[in-house]
């Protein structure tokens, strides 16, 4: 299974580079094994460089850049092994409008193999959805759901 781990790691890494470059319209990203001699026990380091920026630690990235990088890694794993469903709670909160669109366009493609449920306040995100569930509290402290379907 060491070989299987390495194969999976390589696949996820290839996906990560490609998805990162797409979400950031360029730029380079990489996953590396901390301890190459012992892959099954090794941690995984991430390097990520948005387009035109120099190599620097992840800590310096902006709120929106960190969110997009995390999304890129999540999609990279899903392309190898899609989760049956995936619920995302307000992951679009730190994103500017252009990034919300890039994220949503990619999500629509991933949605072929994974059912996505997204909790959001963002109008743009809502416009990409197939269906909308509204949650309300008409009666104080009591949640109620109203479903709105569209294509």
């Amino acid at each position: 299974t060491k070989q299987r781990f390495l194969d999976t790691f390589e696949l996820v890494n290839v996906n990560f580079k490609e998805i990162f470059a797409r979400l950031f319209q360029g730029g380079k990203a990489n996953l590396t094994l901390v301890d190459k001699a012992n892959p099954l026990d090794s941690g995984i380091e991430i390097t990520a460089n948005p387009l035109g920026k120099s190599l620097q630690s992840l800590a310096l990235m902006s709120g929106g850049e960190k969110a997009m990088t995390a999304i890129a890694l999540m999609f990279a794993v899903f392309k190898v092994r899609p989760s049956p469903f995936c619920l995302l709670d307000e992951v679009d909160a730190p994103l500017d409008e252009a990034n919300v669109v890039r994220f949503q366009e990619m999500l629509k493609e991933m949605a072929v193999n994974t059912q996505f449920i997204i909790i959001t306040h963002n109008q743009k995100t809502m416009s990409f959805a197939n269906a909308l569930y509204g949650i309300t509290m008409e009666e104080q402290g009591v949640s109620k759901a109203v479903s709105v379907h569209f294509n």
Binding site: G63, V77, V80, S83, P84, F85, D89, Q115, I117, M137
Partner: protein
């Protein structure tokens, strides 16, 4: 396989029996602050086996049971049922024959402290539920649910934690 519906009763702010049906596409859950959207996320995490109170934003397990409002008394039981559709044949389901295509897992917690677990209405243990879900590719450990404010965790986490992602995908 996909999540067909989620039934909530007595769980956090969902005191009344509520059935959320999800199509096999991309659904957005919307509503004002505090109306209960993240509680839906907590419900799914709880029924698929999440045990840690902190990650369900509660300090005690009884925080999961509807504890009243200005117009309602508290109740004594929280119940969540999650139905998966198009379940592949051959997944082990604790000795329950997987004849139907839909599999419903139910988790119940009483204020008195008792827990109940069911698969397709038949009593079972929590382990039976988590074993079945693991075979189906669902677990609190993988990227099934990203909590509010936690999207950055994947990249701020320790290198060892990221290895788990690759292990689960392998």
């Amino acid at each position: 396989m996909y999540l067909k519906n989620l039934e909530l009763e007595g769980f956090k702010s969902f005191v009344d029996s509520t059935n959320l049906e999800f199509g096999n596409g991309f659904t957005a859950i919307v509503g004002p602050n505090g109306c209960g959207k993240s509680n839906v996320s907590d419900a799914i995490r709880w029924v698929i086996g999440e045990q840690r109170s902190k990650t369900l934003r509660s300090t005690r397990i009884t925080d999961l049971i509807f504890n009243g409002s200005s117009s309602r008394k508290p109740v004594n039981r929280a119940e969540i049922s999650l139905t998966l559709s198009n379940v592949p044949a051959g997944i082990r389901i604790a000795g329950i024959s997987n004849t139907a295509e839909d599999v419903k897992v139910t988790r119940c917690y009483h204020r008195s402290g008792e827990s109940e677990f069911y698969i397709n209405q038949i009593p079972c243990r929590l382990k039976d539920i988590t074993d079945f879900l693991l075979d189906a590719g669902i677990s609190p450990k993988v990227l099934t649910i990203i909590e509010q404010g936690h999207i950055q965790d994947i990249i701020t986490s320790k290198p060892e934690e990221r290895r788990i992602l690759i292990e689960e995908a392998a």
